[in-house]
Structure formats: C-alpha cells, structure tokens
C-alpha cells in the first residue's frame, strides 16, 4: 500500500516559489488498478516522479507498506518494490534490449526468458533482443521496451507515466491490450497516468488531479461518466472522427 500524506512540491521559477502539488493526500491500495487523469500541467507526472523518488516533496510524507520512504532515494525505493516507466523512455547507445531486461530482472536471464517479456508487450522478441536501445528504435518500440522492463521487475507497485504519449494510434491500440492483460495477471498494484478512455475503462479506481490537487476520486463507475467528453477521457479515435467529418 502506498500513501501520500499532505504532500506538496514546488520549484523556483523567476525567483518565486511555484507550487505544483498542493497538500495532496492519496492512498493506493494493494492489487488495485488506479488511473490518474486530469488536465495537462495539473501535476500528474510530478506526482509519479515523487512516488519514484526522482523528485522529493517540499512538504508531507510518503509511505510504502507502512515504511516511511520520503527520504529514500530512487534506488532504495526501486529495491523496496516500486517500478516507474518513463513517459519519454531513455535511449542508451551500445546497451542492448537484453542487457536492459536483465538489469531490470536483476538476474542473468536466458535470452529465451527475456523474450517472454518482449512478447508480452507485442514485440517479436527475436527481432529485438539484440537491438541497441538507440535512435534506430521508434517511439512506439521504445515505449514497449520500457514497459517490458517494468514487467521484468514484477514489483508490488508499477507506475506508468502516460504510456500513450508519443506513440502512433496503431501502436496505442496494441498497448491497451498489454495493460488489459497486465490488469488480469499482475499481483501488485498498477498506477497509470493517462487520458485515454480505454485505459480509464479498465480502472478499479480513478483519481482526477487539476492544479496540483485531487478534484475527484472514486470507483470507475462513479467517476468515469463525469469525465467522458472532456480532455481527461479522450477517445483514441476522436481526432480521426473529427477529421473525417
């Protein structure tokens, strides 16, 4: 269980303190599939970074399974069982996909075992296992590899920051299936930041964040109807429909 208690986070901008997260309190229960949505610039990605330890709160506490992790660094949180998938995955010249999956799994996986994770995210494993994670990979391919590294870790909490960002519609349709499978199979909790209606549709719980605060929170049945048709719940094809009219 992850709990954020009265968490605030601010940055210095033009010599003034700009607060991005205001006094936010949130609990993510075990075995839950939670989707955080809300307008752009509302603080969602910052919240994910605060959970992973990439940013530290200016106020408030964060606890994981009852242990205060506010002062723990990224590595310590990772080893306690928190995974984080980047919105914009990082490229590494020379590092192969297999290397990264092995680092994620923390064991010297056989190539065939590593392939299981790639197949899970819809990549034909034998074509990718020896590829370098460099600029020859497309945004969609990188995103899937990023998700595969989180799957390989198999931790208690997995945080995904806008998995739909920066990929084409075709790839996104396939990614939804990945998350649907993950929802059914995974034992741990999953926290996804997303605007996509189809992701919201498989949530146990939806949290809406705007201006650094929670504006709505509850079960999918309670929250989703109020979001449909707004920017917080986008139909992946809406732009195409509009373009075709």
């Amino acid at each position: 269980m992850l709990t954020l208690e009265n968490v605030s986070f601010g940055v210095q901008e033009d010599r003034k303190e700009k607060e991005i997260i205001h006094d936010l309190t949130l609990t993510i229960d075990d075995h839950k599939f939670v989707v955080i949505t809300g307008p752009n610039g509302g603080g969602k990605s910052t919240l994910a970074r605060l959970i992973a330890g990439i940013e530290r709160p200016t106020q408030g506490r964060i606890a994981f399974d009852g242990e205060d992790i506010t002062d723990k660094n990224i590595t310590e949180r990772a080893n306690l069982g928190i995974s984080y998938a980047f919105q914009q995955p990082v490229r590494f010249k020379g590092v192969q996909v297999l290397d990264l999956i092995r680092l994620a799994a923390k064991k010297k996986l056989a190539a065939a075992d590593a392939c299981v994770y790639l197949s899970e995210v819809g990549l034909c494993a034998k074509d990718y296992i020896n590829r370098e994670i460099n600029s020859s990979l497309s945004g969609g391919e990188l995103k899937r590899i990023e998700i595969a590294t989180v799957l390989a870790r198999g931790t208690k909490l997995s945080v995904f920051d806008e998995p739909e960002a920066g990929i084409d519609l075709w790839s996104f349709q396939n990614l939804i299936a990945v998350f649907e499978r993950m929802r059914d199979k995974t034992d741990g909790s999953i926290l996804i930041i997303s605007h996509q209606e189809r992701i919201l549709n498989i949530a146990d719980e939806i949290v809406v964040i705007a201006d650094g605060k929670i504006t709505a929170q509850g079960s999918r049945e309670d929250i989703l109807p109020g979001l449909l048709g707004t920017a917080s719940a986008v139909d992946a094809c809406s732009k195409f429909y509009k373009g075709g009219q």
Partner: protein, 314 residues
C-alpha cells in the same frame, strides 16, 4: 624459419598479458609469433602462412598465400621488464582471395620505475578480393612509477575489391599512446575501422586516421567510441580524402567525465564530384535521465554509470 619454441619461455605475468591482449591461454591454432621482453618467445607457421624474421632483426614478415581461407595469425607482444624500450616493424602480405583473421596486441606490465615502451609499425598489403579481420588490443598493468607507453603505426594498402575490418581496443592501463593509421584503397576496396578507448588517471591518447579513397567505388567507415575519465586527455583526428567516386563516413562518439578533455577533429576532403563523405562527432557527459532510468531498476548511481560506460564501449 626458426624452430617452433614452446610456451615454456613465457612466464605467468606474460601469460596474463597474453590473455588480456590476444585472448590466449594456450598455444593458438594456426600461425603465431609471440614476442616477450624484446625476444621471440614462440613461433609457428602453417602450410599457408609463413612468419619470417627480418634479416636486420627489427621485426617479422608475415606471408599469407593467395586463397588461404579461414586461418588465423596471432602476433601478440608482451613486456614485463621495467624500462624496456623497443620498436618493431611487421609487414603482412595477404595474398589475393585470402580470408584470414589477424590478432595483434600489446600488453605491458611495469612494476618498476623505468618507462616501458613498445612502438610498432605494421604494414598491410591486402591482395585483390582478400578479406582480413584485424584485432589489436592494448593493455597495461603494474603499479610501478614507470610509464607504460605505446605508439602504434599502421599502414594499409588495399588492392581491388579487398575488404579489411580493423578493431582497435585500449581499455585500461596505458599511460600514453599515439596511434596513427593510414590507408590507401583501390577500386571496390572497403575498410571498416572500429576503435574503442577508455582513458583514466592522467593518461593521454591520440588517434589519427588518414584514409585515401583512391579507387572507384571504394568505401571507408571509421567509428570511434571513447570514454575519458578523471584527468585524462584524448584527441581524435579522422581525415578521409575522396579521390574518386567513393563513400566515406567517420564517426566519433565520446563520453566525457570528471576533469577529462576530449578533442574530436574530423576532416573530409572531396577531390571528385562523386565522392560522398560524411563526418559525425559528438562529445557529451552521461545523460542524467540514463542514470535515473537505471536507478529505477534498482542500481546505485555508481553502478548505473558503470553500466552505461560498459554498454557504450561494448
């Protein structure tokens, strides 16, 4: 030809150096010549590959018969005596249509106060349609105050439609190195050079490549990946001259750390309207996001940095 000498002439430090630079832990298959502390320690020829000492004793001639296929030559050099300085001249004559692997390399262990130095001039004459893979590794060890220095020079003459791939690696322990590589390519010849370099401490490494694409449809690809740590200095010069319809590409990619300094000086010259030449050079530190990504997988900051460097130089 000298009688084959057994490996019993090689001591344990030299054996370790041989393993580092040539992957040798036993007598290799194929032809070989092992030079230890300025003397020949072991040599063997094969039916198709002859190794002959130069008459003035300054080096060896390696003659590979035309059509020799899938054979290898190992010619590593090791120095374990502090203060030893030597210069050798090795010439490789690779016959037409041959397909061979040549493994060179130099390891210096300096546990004393005198500077140890190995300089070599390797000349390759690659025959028509021949295919050569050349691997050269440099390695230094020992905690003496004496420096470990190597200045290798390589000259390559490639005949029509020949192919040569050169892999040059220096990862550890060499205090000072100035590498000079020059190649002349005839029509249809193709040269690929891959250099990997890691410097640390107050080491200095300079690599200079001059490739002359003289024949029609000749091509060259020079790729350097390097990491400079601590107070070390690296200079990379890559010059490609397109003198015919040809294709040339050079790429220098470097990671800079600590107080190191790196210069990359690529130069391309076209003397023919059909010469297509490209150079790329990039120097930068390890991106913070790369470190963060590996930390989210549970690695410490130091482990993450080491992984990134290892992957980059792999």
């Amino acid at each position: 030809m000298a009688d084959p000498v057994t490996f019993s002439n090689v001591d344990s430090i030299q054996m370790r150096l041989l393993e580092e630079v040539a992957g040798l832990h036993e007598v290799p298959a194929g032809a070989y010549n092992i030079r230890a502390n300025g003397q020949m320690a072991a040599r063997a020829a094969s039916a198709n590959i002859d190794i002959i000492s130069k008459e003035d004793g300054t080096g060896i001639d390696i003659r590979i018969k035309p059509g020799t296929k899938k054979e290898s030559v190992h010619i590593p050099v090791v120095l374990s005596q502090s203060g030893l300085t030597e210069m050798v001249y090795n010439d490789f004559y690779i016959g037409d249509d041959a397909d061979v692997v040549i493994v060179a390399g130099c390891g210096i262990h300096n546990g004393g106060d005198g500077d140890s130095r190995h300089d070599g001039l390797h000349r390759f004459f690659v025959g028509k349609n021949a295919k050569v893979k050349y691997v050269e590794k440099h390695y230094g060890s020992g905690d003496g105050r004496g420096k470990r220095m190597m200045d290798p020079q390589t000259e390559v003459t490639m005949e029509e439609n020949s192919y040569m791939e050169m892999e040059m690696v220096q990862i550890k322990g060499v205090d000072s190195t100035r590498r000079s590589t020059k190649a002349d390519l005839a029509a249809g010849a193709k040269l690929v050079i891959r250099e990997r370099l890691l410097t640390h401490g107050s080491q200095f490494a300079e690599s200079s490549f001059v490739v002359n694409l003289n024949g029609e449809d000749s091509s060259a690809n020079v790729i350097s990946r390097s990491v400079a740590k601590e107070d070390s200095t690296q200079i990379f010069n890559a010059e490609i001259n397109g003198n015919a319809k040809c294709a040339g590409h050079s790429e220098c990619d470097a990671i800079i750390m600590d107080n190191a300094r790196i210069s990359a000086i690529p130069r391309i010259t076209a003397n023919n309207t059909d010469a297509a030449l490209i150079h790329e050079a990039a120097i930068g530190k390890i991106a913070g996001e790369q470190i963060i990504k590996l930390m989210t997988l549970g690695l410490t900051e130091e482990e993450a940095g080491a992984q990134i460097v290892n992957g980059f130089l792999k």
